[in-house]
Amino acid sequence: MSTTVDPDRTIDVVGVAYHRPRLSHMQKRNLWGFLFTLPALCFFLVFAIIPIARTFYLSFFTFSVVEKPVFAGWENYRALLDDQRFHASLVNSFAYVFMTYIPVAIIALALALALNVRLRAVGFFRTLYFIPVVMSWVVVSAIWKMIFNRQGLMNAFFLEPFGIAPKNWLTDQDWAPRAIVIMSVWKEVGFFMVVFLAGLQQIPSDYYEAARVDGASGWQLFRSITMPLLRPTLLFVSVIGMITGLQVFVPQWVMTQGGPVTATLVMSLNIYQTAFVFLKGGTAAAMSVVLFLIIGSVTLVQFWLNRLGAND
């Protein structure tokens, strides 16, 4: 081994004479490894880490996006305490997350269980249910804006024929958030269905066979095999649901612009409007910090809860 390595080393020392502390082969190889990660790390530094650090910094200043910042201390954060729009956006974002992603998870799991059975045409249904996922939110929002029109499909096809009074879906403070939730459930179910399917396919089928031999019923199989073994998938689903749900922007921006009044004003939309429409950069930066901390802590709590549960 050492004989094959030696000529290499001498070449190295001659070639790079100033390189006094000679790198061992392992170190040299690891240097390559670091170099491989370097391009990506540079992108992260410039377009993620520095910006998020700057957001923290700017949240202590008053500025519009076009002016020079003036130091303001905790003023931006203090102002958030009385900011009605900010409060509304917090409530609306969390309401959106729970009203959308709990039904999404339940429906997606049901579909995944149904498609996990050996049936014909399973692939066809899976593809079909996945179509809304690959469409852009803007297109989906445009279609559903029409569906929720006073004379649109929702009223004309699903409510009026059954004698239910038509709703002003997008102009009524109570119904506008629900309209967006209905649309989001339709759009997101396919994604989580495939995630659940992937999780279900990880469960070895011998487990089921063994339990069936012991006379377990379908419900017992689900409760004592499927659910416990699906725990990592459930964690993934709840984390992804929370993170994407709390960042939602497009449907509210396209369908209602956050209205009527602030009924559908969610955090991302509020940050965008505060910074780039009302030109209050400092306030928006403070809101951004709050959003960042919320998403960070929610994710950590979910991982922690999962670890607690796993130890049972």
Binding site: I143, T233, W253
Partner: protein
């Protein structure tokens, strides 16, 4: 009963996993439910397509008219004349392809680096990369915009492409995949005198085709859908991407539903076609990402 049916089909070729001995009512119910859900999923599309061919007067008729009286292409013609949709489309393609290529390069390199080289600080750096997944775009959008403005990249392709040049998810995906490449294979190449870049290019990359194509699909799809960032960076028609075009059309001609639906249909078709052609890869991509919960 089950046995006789089995034998009564002389043409049955080969053993099937589940011969259909009798009607299973559970399966029938399942099919009914699956079809009902399929109808719910497809209904908005049918509504969009039929509206795109209608005249304005026909839009909201009672009861809902699913098939327009005549196929009328005026909406497409008028919409294309009123807005530079094709321009938006090509902008989206240029940005989408560039971002995807850039990501394939940065993510595969970094994934390999993190998977196979225990350099100092590797775990810390990888942890930081994963943590950036939690940073919402709207939380860093103000400084990001200021950086891009400072670089003079507002209203350029650079501004749309470069900030999206890598992705934590992509690095994670590539690392998971590349960790499964046997070390012996790499060591053998090293003994043959291949340098690290060459090993990466001629051994690691060819072995990662599935993961790379999954990554490409994901990145392209996300980018095609991206709105908030282009909304800030592309202020004029020249660099506006397709979703922005649709949104703009919506806000200025929002009540002209037939034209809006024509635009939406045009915007949707390319993605739908790509999806239907590559649908197996899509699902594979999803499965790959879902595996490691």
């Amino acid at each position: 009963m089950a046995d006789t049916t089995k034998q009564a089909i002389p043409g049955a070729v080969g053993p099937r996993r589940s011969p259909w001995p009798r009607i299973r009512w559970g399966h029938v119910l399942l099919y009914v439910a699956l079809i009902a859900f399929a109808v719910l999923i497809l209904m908005p599309f049918a509504y969009m397509v039929s509206t795109a061919f209608k005249t304005r007067g026909e839009v909201f008729t009672q009861p809902v008219q699913w098939i327009p009286r005549q196929i009328n292409l005026d909406n497409f013609r008028d919409a294309l004349a009123a807005y530079p949709i094709t321009r938006y489309f090509w902008n989206s393609v240029i940005v989408g392809v560039s971002v995807t290529v850039l990501n394939l390069v940065t993510c595969s390199l970094a994934g390999y680096g993190f998977a196979k080289f225990p350099f100092m600080g590797r775990n810390l750096l990888f942890g930081i990369v994963l943590a950036t997944m939690m940073i919402p775009l709207s939380s860093m959008i103000i400084p990001l915009f200021l950086v891009v403005k400072w670089l003079g990249w507002v209203d350029t392709y650079w501004g749309l492409i470069v900030p999206a040049g890598t992705s934590a998810f992509g690095i994670f995906l590539m690392r998971q995949h590349m960790a499964s490449i046997p070390d012996d294979l790499l060591d053998a190449a090293r003994l043959d005198g291949a340098g690290e870049p060459r090993i990466f290019a001629s051994i690691v990359l060819p072995l990662s085709k599935t993961a790379l194509s999954s990554l490409a699909i994901f990145i392209f799809m996300w980018n095609w859908d991206s709105v908030l960032w282009p909304l800030l960076v592309a202020t004029g028609d020249r660099y506006r991407t397709l979703p922005l075009g649709v949104a703009l059309f919506e806000s200025s001609y929002g009540t002209n539903y037939p034209q809006l639906m024509a635009v939406a249909l045009l915007a949707m078709l390319p993605v739908l076609i790509v999806f239907l052609v590559l649908q197996r890869n899509f699902v594979e991509a999803m499965t790959l990402s879902g595996v490691k919960g």
